[in-house]
C-alpha cells in the first residue's frame, strides 16, 4: 500500500512559498479568493466553530457545514501524535463539484466562494461523490446538498468575518482574500508558509483553504 507524498510540506525556496497558494487561485482569473487559513498548531478542539456555524446558518440536525475531528492519539508513548483537524469546504480554485453538477446549482462566485443554488439543486449527490474532501452533505429534510458558504451573507468587504472565525477560541482561523497581499490572512501565511499544507492536492482541485501543520503531534504530516 502506498501513500501519496503530497502531504509532505514541499521543499520550496523561501521566496517561492509566498506564491505557492496564489499561483493556483490566480490562475482561475477570479478577482478575489476569499478563503480560510487554519493554524493546526492553535486548534484546541473546542468545536466552538462547529456550534457557531450551526447557529449562524440555521443548519439542520444531522447536517454539518464544518466539523472538528480529532486525529489520535496514534503511536507509542512518548512519540504520540494527536491533533485536531477542522474540516469544511475547501472552496477550491478548480472545484470538481462545479464541473460535475448537472444543473449548475453549484457555482463559484467572483469572490472565490463555492455556493449551492437551492433553486436549482435536485439532490442527485453527484457533487458529494466527486468531492475529495467529504465536506458536502445531503440534507434529508430538504433533499438538497449543503456545505460551508464562508458566511457569504456577511459583509466581507467591510471586514465581517464568518462565524467560525469570530468564535474561534484558539485564534487558529484567519479569513480574507488570499490574492491581496495586504490582508491579515496573506500576511500570516507569508510568515508561516514553511508549514503550509494542501490536502489532496494531487486531485487537481487546487484547494484554497490553507492548513498550517502543527509543530508537534503530527509527525507523519
Amino acid at each position: 500500500m502506498s501513500y501519496p507524498e503530497e502531504y509532505k510540506v514541499p521543499q520550496l525556496a523561501p521566496e517561492d512559498y509566498e506564491n505557492y497558494w496564489r499561483e493556483d487561485v490566480q490562475a482561475t482569473g477570479k478577482p478575489k479568493q476569499y478563503t480560510l487559513l487554519i493554524d493546526l498548531d492553535k486548534c484546541i478542539g473546542c468545536k466552538a466553530c462547529q456550534v457557531a456555524c450551526k447557529i449562524e446558518n440555521d443548519v439542520d440536525n444531522g447536517v454539518f457545514w464544518t466539523q472538528v475531528q480529532s486525529m489520535g492519539p496514534v503511536g507509542e508513548f512518548p512519540n504520540l501524535d494527536y491533533f485536531y483537524f477542522p474540516k469544511q469546504c475547501q472552496h477550491c480554485a478548480d472545484p470538481l463539484c462545479v464541473t460535475v453538477c448537472p444543473t449548475k446549482a453549484t457555482y463559484k462566485t467572483d469572490d472565490g466562494i463555492v455556493l449551492v443554488d437551492k433553486d436549482l439543486c435536485f439532490g442527485c449527490q453527484y457533487c458529494i461523490w466527486a468531492c475529495p474532501y467529504g465536506v458536502r452533505t445531503k440534507n434529508p429534510n430538504t433533499g438538497m446538498v449543503e456545505k460551508c458558504v464562508l458566511c457569504a451573507h456577511r459583509d466581507h468587504e467591510h471586514g465581517e468575518m464568518p462565524a467560525c472565525v469570530v468564535s474561534c477560541e484558539g485564534n487558529c482561523r484567519y479569513f480574507g482574500d488570499i490574492n491581496n497581499p495586504n490582508t491579515q490572512i496573506a500576511k500570516y501565511y507569508a510568515a508561516h508558509a514553511d508549514r503550509a499544507m494542501k490536502v489532496h492536492d494531487q486531485f487537481g482541485t487546487k484547494p484554497s483553504v490553507i492548513y498550517l501543520k502543527p509543530r508537534k503531534g503530527a509527525s507523519k504530516l
Binding site: Q69, V74, F85, T103, K104, A105, C131
Partner: protein, 283 residues
C-alpha cells in the same frame, strides 16, 4: 460508499435492455436472425422507464429532473442528452408494424442511429463514474466494465430473443456471447484485483465482511450459472427456458456487480498515513 439500490436497478435495466437492442441488431445483420426489433424496442422502453423511475426516486427533488440538461461538462447532463435520441429511436422503431409501416431503408437508418446512441449512452454513463475522489473508479476498468457487461448482457438477451423468434440460437451468436462473456468476466476479475490493492487505505477485499455476500452472489449468478448455461446451450439450442434462466441470472448479477462497484468506490482518506479516517463522519 453504500450501494445506491435505485442506481443498481437502473444500471441493470440499461445494460440488459439497451445491450439486447444492440446485440439483436448484430444477430439480425450478421447471423441472419429474424428478431423483431419493434418488440425488442418496446420491451426496452418499458424496462428503461422502470429503471428511470428508480433513478428519479433517489433524487432529493425529482421534480427538477429536467434541470439536469444544463451543464454539458457534467457527464450526468450528457447522459440525459444522449437519452433523448435513444428514446426517440426506440419509440419510432417500437411503433413500426403496430401504428405504421416504415420503409426498410428508413428502419435501417433508425436502427443504426439507435445503436450508436445506445453505445454513446453507456459510454457517458461509464465516464460519469470516473472521479478522482474515488480511486477505485478512476481507472480504465470502469468504462471497460460498463461496455463489456453491456455487450455481454445484451448477448444473453439476444440469444433468448433469437430462440423465441427463430426457434433456435445460431451457433455464431452463441460463440459471440461466449467471447463477450469471457471478456466481461475477465475485466470484472481484473477490477476485483485492482480494488483489493488500490492503496489510500481504501482497499476492498472481495470476500471481506462488507462485500462477501454481494460478491459471492455475483460469482454464482454472473459466472457459474452462465458458464453452465453456455456449456449446455450447444446441445439445447432450441430450449428457450435455458436461455431465459441464464439471461435473468446474468441480469441479476449485473445489479449485484453494481452494488460491489459502489462499495468499492470508497472516498480517499484525508491522511492515509494515519489509522483514522477523517473523511465523511456523518454518512
Amino acid at each position: 460508499m453504500r450501494p445506491q439500490i435505485p442506481l443498481c436497478n437502473s444500471t441493470m435495466c440499461q445494460r440488459m435492455c439497451m445491450g439486447t437492442f444492440v446485440m439483436a441488431l448484430v444477430a439480425n445483420w450478421v447471423f441472419g436472425c429474424a428478431i423483431p426489433m419493434n418488440i425488442v424496442a418496446l420491451v426496452t422502453i418499458v424496462i428503461l422507464g422502470i429503471g428511470m423511475l428508480g433513478t428519479m426516486s433517489h433524487l432529493g427533488k425529482p421534480g427538477r429532473f429536467l434541470g439536469a440538461l444544463r451543464n454539458p461538462t457534467s457527464h450526468l447532463s450528457l447522459e440525459m442528452l444522449t437519452c433523448i435520441p435513444v428514446g426517440i429511436c426506440y419509440l419510432i422503431i417500437g411503433a413500426n408494424g403496430l401504428l405504421y409501416t416504415m420503409p426498410e431503408a428508413a428502419m435501417t437508418v433508425l436502427e443504426v442511429i439507435g445503436l450508436i446512441a445506445s453505445v454513446a449512452f453507456i459510454w457517458v454513463t461509464a465516464l460519469a463514474y470516473r472521479m478522482k475522489a474515488r480511486p477505485a473508479w478512476d481507472n480504465v476498468f470502469t468504462p471497460l466494465n460498463f461496455m463489456l457487461t453491456f455487450l455481454s448482457g445484451g448477448a444473453f438477451g439476444s440469444l433468448f430473443a433469437a430462440v423465441l423468434a427463430d426457434g433456435a440460437a445460431p451457433v455464431g451468436l452463441l460463440v459471440t456471447t461466449i467471447v463477450l462473456f469471457v471478456a466481461a468476466t475477465a475485466c470484472q476479475l481484473f477490477f476485483t484485483y485492482f480494488v483489493s490493492r488500490v492503496g489510500y487505505r481504501i482497499d476492498v477485499a472481495p470476500f471481506g465482511p462488507e462485500t462477501r455476500g454481494v460478491y459471492s452472489a455475483w460469482l454464482i449468478l454472473g459466472v457459474v450459472v452462465p458458464i453452465i448455461g453456455l456449456a449446455t446451450a450447444f446441445a439445447l439450442v432450441d430450449f428457450w427456458p435455458l436461455f431465459a434462466i441464464v439471461m435473468v441470472s446474468y441480469a441479476i448479477s449485473l445489479a449485484l456487480w453494481q452494488a460491489f462497484f459502489f462499495i468499492a468506490g470508497k472516498e480517499v482518506w484525508f491522511f492515509p498515513q494515519y489509522e483514522k479516517d477523517l473523511s465523511p463522519a456523518y454518512y
